[in-house]
């Protein structure tokens, strides 16, 4: 089974890109599945159901979404193997910009949209920096120059990634992305594979449900900000 990890900011067009790319793969119905990792709610399962794509949704809830992802992705692979899928896509939203859900040796796709501001590529960090393929969506509504500048800003952060423009509505460009998916290695398990980037350190009193503000309530990993002298 081939595993593809797709990540990107909320509403950047991940689900549309995945749906169009699955269509472009042209595999028999039911052989490509999706596991969606989200924080609180998600409506994407409806879109996958409509296309009869086997899918599961996992909510991180009060757990750090990145930690939730890494502790469940192996289970996702097991689910895919049991279903007899030939391609499994994990879709992660709601990750903080500090993180990337990418695993060494597994194709990593980052989806960002052209409308999100030209400096966005410089701000989203490891999710972009450690991706193999960066998919840019909503390029059909901005000028050619802005597309080029956006792609340039992506290359400044991640010079080795392939930048692809995919139209999530018409599917234009999904064919090339499908070619990348087809060329990835088959795996049976994720056990013992390594993350490309460390997860955030999250052991403080607020992790365990503390809600009061003030130094006396803070324990564990705390990063204190330094302000100018007034």
């Amino acid at each position: 089974m081939k595993l593809i990890t797709v990540a990107g900011p909320p509403s950047s067009g991940k689900t549309s890109v995945i749906l169009k790319t699955i269509a472009a793969l042209g595999l028999p119905p039911g052989s490509v599945g999706v596991v969606k990792f989200d924080s609180l709610t998600s409506f994407d399962h409806q879109r996958y159901d409509e296309q009869q794509i086997p899918n599961q949704t996992a909510f991180a809830g009060k757990i750090c979404p990145d930690h939730h992802f890494v502790s469940n992705v192996e289970g996702a692979v097991e689910w895919g193997m049991k279903k007899g899928l030939s391609v499994l896509v994990t879709e992660s939203a709601g990750l903080c910009n500090r993180c990337s859900p990418y695993v060494n040796g597994i194709l990593s796709v980052c989806v960002i949209d052209n409308l999100s501001g030209i400096n966005t590529p410089r701000k989203i960090g490891p999710m972009l920096k450690y991706a193999d393929v960066v998919v840019v969506t909503k390029g059909d509504v901005v000028s050619q120059a802005e597309r080029e500048v956006f792609a340039f800003n992506i290359r400044e952060v991640n010079a080795s990634a392939t930048v692809l423009f995919v139209n999530g509505i018409t599917g234009q460009g999904a064919f090339m992305l499908a070619r990348y998916w087809q060329d990835t290695l088959d795996i049976r398990t994720l056990r013992d594979r390594k993350l490309r980037f460390t997860m955030p350190a999250a052991i403080c009193s607020y992790c365990t449900g503390e809600t009061l503000i003030g130094e006396m309530y803070q324990m564990g990993m705390v990063k204190r900000m330094e302000f100018d002298d007034a």
Binding site: R98, N114, L115, I118, R122, G125, P126, K129, Y130, D140, V141, V142, S143, Q144, A145, E146, R147, E148, V149, A151, F152, N153, R155, E156, V157, A159, S160, T162, V163, L164, F165, T170, Q172, G173, F175, M176, R179, F197, T198
Partner: protein, 344 residues
């Protein structure tokens, strides 16, 4: 130069000189929050004073910063070889939506204009996509695209991704909050054009010559009118975009000098494919492709007779343009504005 050569250079040369040699380097440093550094020091010296925890937030240690920085310099100093000079593209027919073979072998060269006509949903975008991904009988249309007469290898298909075709459509808008000047400078920077002032100036002049109403360099791009935006996009695509092929979707609604627009694009040795139903544009093209039901049914070379009718259509068009300008100036439209009335 290889990445390791850059490592040697970065380790020995003060960062101030590096920044002058590679102007883009400042962006890399800014991306890892290294700003206002001591320009007399080398990067390894600077990194000695940087908190390791801060670097770790970016997933880097000191050595990795030097290596990544060098890889960055290498990547942006590389001349873009993936887009070699394109002397022709050839479209070989596949099949239409019903599976009927498409009898097509069309070669287009820079400076040529091909218009694409056909009802909505007939497969115009599909044709564009086939060109964009250099289809090799592996897309739903089974078309094949040749570059300079031969099939491009797989590496080239991937490396040219997104760079081969520039697009201009009436749905496009500017979303950056920048002035015209800043916008053009930013685009020039992304193309790594060393002396951008000249090309920015030229681009601005061309855009203004196309636009009905003039605009200034300090106008925000988001405040330009529809026609002004389109003019700027056309001038920018012709002069600042690296893509050798341009696909235009419906230029007629733009309210600009369309004849001049096409001439500017063609004059800059672009291959222009234009989806249009505007007779003035369609007949100005050297050839036109007729698409129906997902397949090209005909390629029509513009005939001599059509070229003759073009003069009449131009006269009608320029009469309309005169009337438009009269309205814009707040004048009263009279019979004298319309040549047909004057003849009678």
């Amino acid at each position: 130069m290889k990445t390791l050569d850059y490592v040697a250079e970065v380790s020995a040369v003060p960062i101030g000189d590096i920044l002058r040699r590679y102007p883009l380097a400042v962006d890399y440093l800014a991306n890892i929050r290294l700003v206002g550094v001591d320009e007399t020091k080398t990067l390894p010296e600077i990194l000695e004073d940087v908190d390791e925890d801060m670097l770790e937030e970016f997933g880097l240690d000191r050595e990795e910063v030097i290596f990544h920085f060098s890889a960055f310099l290498e990547a942006f100093s590389r001349t873009d070889e993936s887009i070699e000079t394109i002397s022709s593209i050839t479209i070989l027919g596949g099949r239409d939506k019903t599976g009927r073979p498409e009898m097509l072998e069309l070669t287009v060269t820079p400076g040529e204009v091909v218009s694409i006509v056909g009802p909505t949903g007939s497969g115009k975008s599909r044709l564009l996509e086939d060109i964009e991904c250099l289809a090799q009988r592996d897309t739903p249309t089974a078309r094949q695209i040749l570059i300079n007469g031969s099939a491009p290898d797989l590496d080239k298909r991937f490396s040219t991704g997104g760079k081969l075709v520039a697009q201009l459509s009436q749905n496009m808008n500017f979303v950056m909050d920048l002035t015209v000047q800043e916008f053009l400078e930013m685009h020039a920077k992304s193309r790594m054009i060393p002396d951008s002032a000249e090309v920015v100036e030229k681009c601005f002049a061309v855009a203004n010559s196309l636009a009905g109403e003039k605009f200034t360099l300090d106008t925000k791009v988001t405040q330009l009118s529809g026609g002004q935006s389109r003019s700027l996009m056309i001038a920018d695509t012709a002069l600042l975009s690296s893509s050798p092929i341009i696909l235009i979707d419906e230029l007629e609604n733009a309210g600009i000098d369309r004849r001049e627009a096409i001439e500017i694009l063609v004059g800059n040795e672009k291959i222009v494919l234009m989806s249009t139903h505007d007779p003035l544009l369609a007949l100005r093209a050297d050839k036109r492709i007729v698409i129906r039901n997902g397949g090209v049914t005909k390629v029509i070379e513009t005939t001599t007779e059509e070229e003759q009718t073009l003069h009449k259509i131009e006269a009608i068009d320029s009469a309309l343009l005169t009337i438009r300008n009269q309205l814009r100036r707040g004048a009263i439209v009279t019979n004298e504005s319309i040549p047909e009335f004057q003849e009678k």
